[in-house]
Amino acid sequence: MSNKLRTLILDDESIVCKRLKPALEKSGYEVETFDNPTDALKRIDQEEFDIVVTDIRMDEIDGIQVLEHVLARSSRTRVIIITGYATVEMAREALAKGAFDFIAKPFKPNDLRAVIAKAAKELKSEK
């Protein structure tokens, strides 16, 4: 198994996944993307990811539910929440429930890289 950080990105707007995948791959992460929360949760059940990046507002299952599901499966996974302007309150709730950090849209891939790097450092120090 690769020693690269395994990252899952979930956003129901597919452009977000398309944009982030190459940006994070260029930084050396292994990246899987999903624009459907149900499929993402199935994948999370199959495999433990180091980092999960999820949008907070989605139609079927919201980011808080994803966070709870991920942390129930693996407490070491770091969950980063993507929020819009209108969902900052939800992001606070997510932080209270154990999210690692949140990032507000619209953002630069580099902003997310910085947050992921912080999470990676924390994961490394746990080993």
Partner: protein
């Protein structure tokens, strides 16, 4: 119950100073909202640079915020002008509805031309009228300067008119890929339908024009396309085409293409692409080229994608006849050239290199491998018939997970040092630009390295040859950056020292997706780009932002290197708001003039020499209480307003001793605000400025109108004023009667400094000694003034 007071005439009469105070407050509110609007748009333009992840949520909020601010500005303007322009609310509503439709990826509410010449199609103006497949062809013709068969497109609006005229909508709502009776009935009705007379007339006129511009025999090819089809790589083919149509048969062929677009296969394809089976159809009518040789070009050879070659094939009677390969880099050397003389459609080596150069120009522009259909006529002119994305079904040359290590082995010259103005990845050799001659000598696929990235028109002539642009200065919101985006050239600005650090001929790889510049060729990145690359410019959200900004904000350039090159001038939200600004300025002038007689009797004034006399109105804490009323001269010591003091310092300077006498001047002042209305001879100056403890809210707005504007001397004087103010980072807008300038967000000290300079400038401009000599360049006169500052 204001309305009842108005109707019954019982509205309390306000004193002139109160009216002026209320109008000033309203004017100030307009300025505030315009500043917010500008910030919003500048922020969105920066996001257009490609560095940000944007989604529909962002686009919706941008739309709502922009129209909410515009609505407030139109409301304030109407309140100031007695609701003379209430029709603007309807205009705003229509624009907003159209933008909402664009966000939903639907054609715009029907309006606009039924038939549009291919030469007139502009991507941003016409995408939602003719669709992406035909705008791509127009871009190849207009932006890249390549030959495309003459023709025109019958728009979505025309289709909609055709559907309404023949009552076909109910059947279209049942569009289905299965061979149902309804679909059969729909196609049958389309084939025998009657074209609305206006539409038939427009098509016939366009056909006649086409027949006039080229020699007989006149034969056309008609092709249909739906909105959004180009966003799927598998779709950009000739779904529904009718060939060899004579001039008299175009109307029937149009109906045949529409019927074919509702054929089972076409509907099924749309469903597969995730498009609505019921769609609006645009139909292109193009001249059929009498082909001597025809064929395809794959900018990456599909069979051997790793060898880095272009594959060029020729056809004979529709079947592959000969195949060649050329390098993907200038000078596009021929790499594979079959020596047997068996093929009927043999190409000379120089023709192969020429085709390769054209193909790579198209690939650079569309930022991805292309499959191109071309024909060559007897005169050896090569026409591009179609270009669509090429899908490469190959193994990765480098696993994505290992890309980071591979890229890290290359020396990065700049990493996050500048700002991305246009996304993309490119590799080429450095070409330093310091003058016009350098631009002319830009080689194909050269990387432009330039100190100041300014919108010189010559730049447009060479952008189709450029692989990338690196600039020492500039901003993603600048005009030059928007030019780079129009030509899809990966661009990073604000690098500081690229023009000194890089040498001509250096090979660099520009990753403007990640804001990094590498020395040398980063082949791993370039291969990754070919296989995995996400071309942002092909993404809906990116294009939606472009379409929205195009309709919200002014500016932009069309028609590279042709006589059509001009600044766009059209109905945008920005232009509506500027109109409101002009009206509110005029309303302020009227408000002052209406109370002028009273003011002259009652307001104190301040004088400087015989030529300058300004009446002052205190809007609150602008003048010492003892001096605030009565028709008397007051000294500067009695003026509290820091803005007025700063302006007066410049206005009353020594150089203005021989100024033209001011016919009337008035300044309404408070501790934080200055509103100046100064009429001198032919010109009127309206200046509004605000200053408080928060830099965010400080602004200066000036409108200068000139009755003699059309005359050369006045025109030169306006250019002089504009030139100086632009040097101080003011944004300028030429209006029918003069010029409007503004600058927002600055420290209080800067507001005061600029007001002093503006004061000096107005004094200088009105000085009778200041002559705008016809023989002296305006730039020189600007220099003379600036030297004195």
């Amino acid at each position: 119950m204001n309305w009842w007071r108005k109707l019954s005439g019982t509205q309390p009469k306000l004193d002139p100073n109160t009216i002026l105070r209320l109008k000033c407050a309203r004017f100030h509110h307009v300025q505030e909202n315009y500043k917010k609007f500008n910030n919003l748009i500048n922020d969105a333009i920066e996001k257009l640079g490609g560095e940000y992840v944007i989604d529909k949520q962002y686009l919706s909020s941008l739309l709502e915020n922009a129209f909410s601010l515009a609505g407030e500005i139109v409301h304030d303007m109407n309140m100031m002008s007695g609701y003379q322009y209430s029709d603007l609310f309807f205009k705003l509503d229509r624009m907003k509805s159209n933008l909402r439709r664009i966000l939903a990826w639907q054609p715009q509410i029907k309006s606009g031309d039924l038939v549009i010449s291919l030469s007139d199609i502009d991507e941003l103006d016409h995408y939602h009228q003719v669709g992406g497949i035909f705008t791509r062809l127009a871009e190849i013709k207009q932006r890249l300067g390549l030959l495309v068969p003459e023709g025109f497109v019958i728009s979505f609006s025309a289709f909609s008119m055709f559907v309404d005229y023949n009552g076909l909508e109910p059947l279209m709502n049942l569009a289905d890929a299965r061979p149902t009776k309804v679909m059969e009935e729909l196609r049958g009705k389309m084939r025998v339908a009657t074209l609305p007379p206006d539409l038939a007339g427009d098509i016939e006129t366009a056909v006649r024009r086409l027949c006039e511009i080229y020699e007989p025999p006149h034969r056309f090819i008609l092709r249909g396309a739906a909105l959004g089809e180009e966003y799927n790589k598998h779709s950009a083919g000739n779904l529904c085409a009718v060939e060899a149509v004579g001039p008299g048969d175009v109307l029937n062929a149009y109906k045949a293409v529409l019927a074919a677009m509702y054929g089972g296969q076409a509907v099924e394809n749309r469903i597969k692409l995730g498009l609505d089976p019921k769609c609006d159809v645009a139909v292109a009518v193009s001249r059929m080229i009498n082909a001597e040789i025809e064929g395809s070009i794959y900018t990456v050879s599909p069979d051997t994608p790793h060898n880095g070659n272009i594959r060029i094939e020729t056809l004979s009677n529709g079947a592959p006849d000969a195949a060649y390969e050329a390098s993907r880099r200038p000078p596009y050397n021929v790499e594979t050239y079959p020596e047997e003389e068996t093929s009927k459609t043999r190409l000379a080596r120089r023709d192969i290199s020429g085709l390769a150069e054209k193909a790579m120009r198209i690939e650079r522009y569309f930022k991805g491998p292309q499959e191109i259909v071309w024909v060559q006529d007897k005169k050896k002119d090569t026409y591009i018939i179609q270009s669509k994305p090429l899908i490469l079904d190959v193994e990765h040359s480098i696993p994505p997970g290992e890309l980071a290590e591979a890229v890290a082995r290359h020396e990065s010259l700049y990493d996050q040092a500048g700002k991305v103005a246009c996304p993309g990845i490119a590799c080429g050799s450095v070409h330093l630009i310091s003058g016009r001659q350098d631009l002319e000598n830009l080689p194909e696929n050269g990387v432009i390295v330039i100190e100041k990235f300014e919108p010189v028109m010559d730049l447009m002539l060479v952008l189709s040859r450029a692989a990338a642009i690196l600039a020492d200065t500039g901003a993603p919101t600048g005009h030059a950056a928007s030019l780079a985006r129009e030509f899809h050239v990966p661009t990073i600005v604000g690098l500081g020292d690229a023009s000194r650090r890089l040498k001509p001929g250096d090979t660099v790889t520009v990753d403007a997706d990640d804001n990094v510049v590498y020395m040398g060729e980063v082949s791993e990145l370039l291969h990754y780009q070919l296989q995995e690359y996400l071309n942002l410019e092909n993404e809906k959200e990116y294009n939606l932002l472009r379409f929205m900004l195009h309709r919200i904000s002014s500016g932009g350039v069309v028609g590279a290197g042709s006589s059509r090159t001009k600044l766009r001038d059209r109905e945008t939200l920005d232009n509506i708001i500027r109109f409101c600004m002009d009206v509110t300025s005029r309303e302020m002038t009227h408000a002052i003039e209406s109370i002028r007689a009273g003011l002259l009797k009652s307001a104190p004034h301040i004088e400087s020499g015989p030529g300058l006399k300004l009446h002052l109105i205190d809007l609150g804490d602008g003048i010492e209480p003892a001096g605030a009323s009565g028709n008397k001269i007051i000294e500067m010591d009695a003026v509290r307003s820091p803005l007025f003091r700063a302006l007066w310092e410049g206005l009353s300077g020594a150089e203005a001793a021989n100024r033209n006498p001011a016919a009337f001047g008035l300044a309404a002042i408070s501790a934080e605000r200055l509103h100046l209305n100064l009429a001198t001879g032919a010109r009127t100056y309206i200046l509004d400025a605000y200053q408080c403890g928060d830099d965010e809210y400080n602004y200066i707005y000036v409108h200068i109108s000139d009755r003699l504007y059309a005359e050369d001397r006045s025109e030169r004087r306006i250019l002089w004023l504009k030139g100086i103010l632009e040097k101080f980072d003011f944004r300028t807008f030429r209006s029918d009667d003069g010029i409007t300038v503004w600058r927002y967000v600055m420290p209080a000290t800067e507001t005061a400094r600029l007001l002093t300079i503006i004061g000096r400038m107005l004094g200088y401009a009105e000085n009778q000694d200041m002559q705008v000599h016809a023989g002296m360049p305006v730039e020189k006169e600007i220099e003379v003034f600036l030297k004195q500052q």
